[in-house]
């Protein structure tokens, strides 16, 4: 079994210790880890699902704008960070498997390792107080 890059391993370890929901995706958009606070968004525990390809995780929750119009997956900050290798921030409303509509802000940034290796991206979610 191949080992992941150390930068990715350390990111997961940090995410595991934080109370903010965090998604980590690999270079091809596969969701390779989400922490426990992110589990209500996806409606599953990471131990149950393991990795999810982008076509799967992007459909698990619905992202909309303030007017309740769908936000295309390619416009999600996480996908922008992954595709354009730059940080991105957005204000969204998301409805996960639990059907709760959450007003969130999300910041995503690319994971760029030593020697400029593109290792994926990270998104941090912040639920705006209701």
């Amino acid at each position: 079994m191949a080992q992941r890059e150390i930068e990715v391993i350390l990111t997961r370890q940090l995410a595991s210790c934080l109370t903010l929901p965090i998604f980590i995706v690999g270079p091809d958009g596969t969701l390779i880890f989400y922490n426990e606070p992110a589990e209500p968004i996806l409606g599953h525990r990471f131990e149950e699902t393991g990795e999810m390809p982008s076509r799967e995780w992007a459909t698990v929750y619905t992202a909309t704008d303030q007017a309740d119009q769908p936000v295309p997956a390619e416009q999600l900050p996480l996908m922008i960070a992954l595709r354009e290798h730059r940080p991105a921030h957005g204000v969204l409303w998301i409805r996960g498997r639990d059907q709760v509509r959450r007003h969130i802000e999300t910041t995503a940034f690319p994971l760029i390792g030593q020697a400029g290796r593109h290792l994926g991206a990270v998104a941090i979610f912040w639920e705006v107080a209701r």
């Binding site: 080992q3 150390i6 370890q13 210790c17």
Partner: protein
């Protein structure tokens, strides 16, 4: 055949004295030899004696540094082949995100820390930044990969047709892991150590000392054993002994860990002068 000779076992700080005479007081240095190819892993204070006994016919040396903490480079300026104009010296070590390897090494090999500048060494010096993918030196195939330790730090996997070894002298794979070890793919260093005949691994602390040193970049003896088990290493050499540990302490800590974990592989605390023959 690969001969692995331990020239320095200690972590953090050299600690000579009667109480450390068995396992040794010099800091990290290991020589790996096959025929006339010699790799030197780290240049702690142990490298001085290695340089003083350098075989006459060998005109090239490759120094593979895991990182540039002082206990891994302090012997560099005292390594005799650096002052021999007939020697070809290659130093392999990690750059930082902002400084190349030459600038990083020059911080130590220049006044006021050392009287001789890196540029004034007599040998023909070549610097190589790692990790840079797999590379070959003589009969050895070598992999370097970043591992969990503060600052840019790599471990090395070295193999030839007969045997494989891994060198992870400063490594804290248990950092942030609730039940260590987790899955292999999520474990720092696993790719380097998988299935090796000999694993030289950080084992600085006793299990009860680790909680007060979490995040310092080192492992307990038990963590080293659990990591070796995960990687299916055949022989674990416990390395980077804490400078505060006497010979008696090390023996006691290792015996207790073996009694607790019952490893299915050989476990040996590193001793200065020990030689391991692989293949």
């Amino acid at each position: 055949m690969i001969d692995v000779t331990i020239w320095g076992t200690r972590g953090s700080l050299a600690s000579p004295g009667a109480e450390t005479a068995r396992f040794g007081g010099n800091t990290a240095c290991v020589a790996v030899r096959a025929d006339d190819t010699i790799l030197v892993l780290d240049a702690g204070t142990g490298v001085r004696r290695l340089g003083a006994s350098w075989p006459n016919g060998v005109r090239r040396v490759d120094l593979l540094l895991t990182h540039l903490h002082m206990d891994h480079i302090q012997g560099l300026g005292f390594f005799q082949p650096l002052y021999d104009d007939g020697m070809e010296v290659h130093i392999w070590a990690p750059a930082s995100p902002t400084l190349d390897l030459r600038k990083r090494l020059s911080r130590y090999l220049s006044p006021p820390f050392f009287p001789v500048h890196l540029r004034d060494l007599d040998c023909r010096l070549n610097l190589h930044e790692v990790p840079c993918g797999d590379f070959s030196i003589g009969p050895f195939r070598i992999s370097a990969a970043l591992v969990c330790h503060p600052g840019p730090t790599v471990g090395y996997r070295i193999e030839n047709a007969q045997a494989a070894m891994a060198y992870l002298p400063d490594h804290e794979p248990a950092l942030g892991v609730t039940n260590f070890p987790g899955l292999p793919e999520w474990t720092s260093g696993y790719g380097l150590a998988a299935g090796v005949d000999l694993l030289i691994h950080d084992a600085q602390y006793a299990a009860d000392e680790y909680p007060d040193h979490t995040g310092w970049g080192h492992s307990s003896v038990e963590h080293a054993m659990r990591f070796a088990a995960l990687a299916h290493a055949k022989h674990l050499v416990l390395f980077h002994h804490d400078p505060a540990h006497s010979d008696h302490d090390i023996a006691r800590i290792v015996d207790a860990a073996v009694a607790t974990l019952h490893p299915e592989f050989q476990v040996t605390p590193a001793e200065e002068g020990a030689v391991f023959r692989l293949g």
